[in-house]
Symmetry: C2
Subunit: 245 residues, 2 copies
């Protein structure tokens, strides 16, 4: 059975204006890979309702899972929840459970659950809440979409809490072979080797160390024994001659 | 006249597998913002021809500029150029100028322009080369698409060399007002203030410092004097009472 597929929708002007460097994509990519869920696509869009609605509709049809980050706070620029409601034709209402969570949280801090904070209890009908161990206000899961916060510590806490409920696949493992030769020198041999071994994938990533060129060859596949064998065989091939013809 | 719009297409398995953290998006976002070109959307896709073709076609129709990163090296997994050719129905051939650049570069290093390296001279017909001051192999511009390398130092050099040729807009400036209050406490006042001042945009970004909650309010617009005035007026509003009702 093929691995489940996933996509991510990053919602936020602050990423596209260059004010903030996104880190949630990298966190999600690493942790999905570990459990064998293949992240196939990421989109970053502005805080514009229509763009969010379109992207959610397209991505939720195309992939098994969609993870969103950003736009679920208490301020006027937090429009994700209304966009999610529109995307699925579902009403957005104050959720009792979410309200109780917020009440308990703010009472404990001696703060009032005012109109703005109560906005964070507005949840599309039928959604299941996602626990937020950092700052209480929950995310939620509706259909195959997981709606989470943009603040990295909160995004990570929410993702960690939904991870056990996801259908995991076969984790893709990787081996990295680092050679101090430029890509152009090894490319032909690597291509031939990759063509013979299509049960795994070969990525080639050049780097420069001082004035020397090197290449990281990353072999990815599900079986560790196969990967170790291929890694050794490829190294052997590359050592045979210093240059391809 | 509204600012020119832009999008970015990041091409690369290594970003989506979590192996590499992308940095080109942040660089592009910052530098486009400085010259008044509005980055509206970013997509990250795998090294899959069909996905690249689809994304390029959609983004190049929707935005004034498209910037791509990744997949133009000499190895078998570098498929961007063929995908770009397919996206525009244009032949890909060895470009004389690109070949001359590569010949000169490799001769100077005592290296051979072998079959693999020559792949980097394959350019869609009609494209204009983009200078690569780091490692010689050029990027290129075809229609409104700028095809650049994924290695950050090379991406940045290529972008810097095309920047003067882009149609600039009116740079969006920003002022950040940092208040040591949670978003929920200031949200209502901020929303009212934002509604009254729709010629600029107001973003609200929560943060936590030790156990204190704070908010960065970012006001964005084209006129520095307006921004300074609004910044002062908003601060005044927020100081009037400690809590919104």
């Amino acid at each position: 059975m093929p691995n489940p597929t996933a996509s991510m929708l990053v919602i936020g002007d602050e990423i596209l204006s260059g004010r903030t460097r996104d880190s949630n994509m990298h966190y999600l990519a690493q942790h999905l890979t570990k459990v064998g869920i293949d992240l196939k696509e990421v989109r970053v869009v502005l805080d514009i309702t229509e763009d969010i609605v379109d992207s959610v509709q397209i991505l939720s049809k195309r992939y098994d899972y969609v993870f969103t980050s950003g736009g679920i706070g208490p301020t006027h620029d937090d429009i994700t929840t209304d966009a999610i409601g529109m995307a699925f034709g579902v009403k957005v209402e104050i959720d009792k459970e979410a309200r109780a969570i917020l009440e308990k949280n703010y009472q404990g801090k001696g703060l009032e659950l005012n109109e703005s904070r109560l906005r964070m209890a507005r949840i599309p009908c039928g959604a299941i809440l996602i626990n937020n161990s950092v700052s209480a206000a929950p995310g939620y899961n509706i259909f195959n979409v997981f709606v989470m916060a943009g603040v990295p510590s909160v995004f990570q806490a929410m993702f960690d809490s939904v991870l056990p409920s996801l259908l995991a696949g076969t984790p893709i493992q990787s081996r990295t072979l680092t050679v101090m030769r430029g890509e152009g020198e090894i490319a032909l041999k690597l291509a031939k080797f990759a063509k013979k071994n299509q049960n795994v994938s070969f990525g080639s990533y050049p780097f420069q160390l001082d004035s020397e060129y090197g290449t990281n060859i990353v072999i990815r596949g599900v079986d560790p024994v196969t990967l170790d064998g291929l890694c050794a065989a490829l190294l052997d091939q590359l050592l045979k001659e210093n240059h391809e013809s």
